[in-house]
């Protein structure tokens, strides 16, 4: 009779890590949104004198949105394994820019018009590159060479070239250009640019894992480093926004 060995890592360790990371993220979200007054703004808009209900609503909605954003790549690729989700979660925490609830509540106002950056209007290329675009370049400092190396390996190792997504880089370039041009859309386009790049890395990684299953075990060290970075960033966020 065949006995199935209980996968302790898959069914205990990984879910525990996910729960702990989500709990920490929720704590940081709560601190950030109360400090930035996102819940307060919504309570004022709705005419409520007590902000508590709106604070709780903001926390719940924020977490829901966060989980959806994390699950999206797994849902799109129909890869619903815990390990795959963990990989993207760890990479998200390590690379993505911080989502400020204070900015999110005003996002609709920003979408009503386009405002060209001052540095483009005045042709100040130095200010554009080394001041306005610094956040984007900083975020891409590790991600871009990393993505390129991953892409190079996939080109060599992956048998079916159709598995490598070609349309995504064009979308990334589009949003990066929009970030360069429009100051009022800077926050949104920065988020989408990095998110799409992360999505591309996720797709390349999953494709590579299919071709080289042996990659999986040792690559956990890489994702552990991502997770540790994510934890560090969350701790820094909490330390600055906790009241």
């Amino acid at each position: 009779m065949k006995t199935h060995k209980f996968d302790f890592y898959k069914f205990i360790i990984l879910p525990l890590i996910v729960c702990a990371a989500l709990a920490l993220s929720f704590y940081a979200l709560h601190d950030l949104q109360t400090a930035e007054g996102a819940g307060l703004y919504l309570s004022l808009l709705s005419g409520q004198s007590d902000r508590t209900f709106c604070d709780i609503l903001t926390d719940i909605l924020g977490m829901l949105l966060f989980i959806i954003v994390l699950l999206l790549p797994c849902l799109v690729t129909r890869n619903l394994s815990v390990e795959s989700f963990c990989r993207f979660f760890a990479a998200y925490l390590a690379f993505m820019p911080v989502v400020h609830p204070g900015e999110v509540v005003h996002i609709v106002e920003h979408l009503t018009h386009f405002v060209l950056r001052d540095s483009i209007v005045t042709f100040d290329i130095l200010q554009l590159l080394f001041f306005d675009c610094e956040p984007l370049f900083r975020l891409l400092q590790t991600l871009l060479p990393f993505t390129f190396l991953l892409y190079a390996i996939c080109r060599i190792k992956v048998q079916s070239k159709k598995q490598i997504p070609w349309g995504l880089p064009a979308c990334i370039a589009l949003f990066a250009t929009a970030y360069l041009l429009f100051s009022n859309l800077g926050y949104l386009t920065l988020f989408v640019t990095v998110y799409l790049l992360l999505f591309l890395c996720y797709l390349l990684w999953e494709v590579l894992l299919k071709e080289l299953p042996a990659f999986n075990k040792w690559s956990r060290i890489l994702f552990l480093i991502f997770l540790l970075r994510g934890i560090y960033r969350i701790l820094m966020l909490i330390s600055t926004s906790h009241v």
Partner: protein, 371 residues
């Protein structure tokens, strides 16, 4: 035809290096002597401006007894400060090129591409270019020190890579001095270098079954001596006694946070790139890591881990560990290229991306200084 193409590519790499060198020199010119440079421009014992070598000697004796053990780097700092800003700027630029050369030497890759990649990586992966290479105190502690530390590492790894190789000329004479200044450089790289030397000796004795030359023992012993000087100097204890005492839990929390910040923030680009290259090298292409690679990996981990004993781990202090990661990255990538696992086109594009970030990193430091 192939030779002509290679020549054209080498010209492009050299142009890229020249652009980086020019930007770097311009940055050095824009960063004057600041902060600790001004204090070290004086005789630390008498508070008078430095006037002679004896002032430097007197300063460093005071430094050793009252401030800290890094008398080699700070003595060198004082000597360079006495020579003026232009001399320091030229020296820093030359030493950064020398550092890239030594990285290629340790990685055992002598090509224009390897030099180009090493030089660009020093800037693009650097957590703080200004404070580790342009600020004169930072240059002396990190840029200069890492240069001779890697030279020491090269001498030992050279033996590991080829146990029957003939020793370098007059090594018995200069290795004690090199070992001493390596150990005496800073509190994490010094002891880590000593342990690397011990690893090399153990490897040669136990696995390669080679007779250990006397100079290896001498170099290791003097490295240990230097490390003892830098860690056990009376000045370190005087400084520690002046710091406000915190509880054990608070201390543990702060140390964990500083190690997390160094490992996952300052060293993040170096570690992630190296990790990916290692995975590609060993798992994708099934290449075997050489003993020297493994020793360098342990060396990088030790140099990072040693900082858990330090109350502070600023971004510039990750410079040495970053350079060790660069040695490994360059060595493994060049191996993959020479074995034709990676195409030339891919390595060129990757190198160009790194170079672009190196230029951007230097320009980011320059922009507030010229705007």
């Amino acid at each position: 035809m192939q030779r002509q193409t290679m020549k054209k590519e080498n010209i492009i790499f050299i142009l890229g290096i020249l652009i980086l060198v020019s930007l770097e020199f311009f940055l050095h010119r824009k960063v004057p002597f600041i902060m600790d440079d001004l204090w070290y421009s004086t005789n630390l014992a008498t508070n008078e401006p430095l006037a002679s070598l004896s002032d430097v000697f007197q300063s460093q004796v005071w430094h050793f007894n009252n401030w800290g053990g890094r008398v080699v780097t700070h003595g060198l700092l004082q000597l360079t400060l006495m020579c003026g800003e232009l001399f320091c700027d030229l020296l820093n630029t030359v030493l950064s090129l020398l550092l890239a050369g030594i990285i290629c030497l340790v990685a055992r890759k002598r090509s224009v591409l390897s030099f180009f990649l090493s030089f660009a990586l020093v800037f693009s992966l650097n957590a703080n270019i200004k404070m580790s290479m342009a600020w004169q105190s930072g240059s002396a502690n990190y840029l200069y020190a890492t240069t001779w530390i890697l030279l020491f590492v090269w001498v030992f790894l050279r033996q590991v890579n080829n146990p029957s190789t003939a020793p370098l000329p007059f090594v018995h004479i200069w290795i004690p001095f090199l070992g001493l200044i390596t150990g005496w450089s800073n509190e994490n790289m010094g002891p880590a270098s000593f342990l690397l030397a011990v690893m090399a000796i153990i490897y040669l004795k136990k696995w390669a079954k080679e007779k250990i030359p006397v100079w290896m023992y001498t170099g290791t012993a003097f490295c240990l001596l230097g490390s003892a000087f830098v860690i056990l100097s009376p000045g370190n204890f005087v400084r520690v006694s002046n710091i406000e005492e915190t509880g054990l839990l608070q201390t543990i929390y702060e140390r964990i946070l500083s190690m997390l910040s160094a490992g996952t923030d300052f060293l993040f680009p170096s570690v992630i790139l190296l990790s990916l290259v290692l995975l590609i090298y060993t798992l994708c292409f099934k290449c075997k890591l050489q003993p020297a690679h493994l020793m360098l990996l342990i060396y990088a981990v030790l140099s990072y881990g040693a900082m858990v004993l330090s109350p502070h781990y600023p971004d510039r202090a990750t410079f040495g560990t970053m350079c060790v990661c660069i040695v490994l990255t360059v060595s493994l990538l060049s191996d993959l290229l020479s074995k034709k696992h990676l195409s030339v086109k891919h390595v060129y594009v990757f190198s160009f991306l790194i170079w672009l970030y190196a230029v951007y990193g230097i320009m980011l430091e320059l922009y507030p200084l010229i705007h």
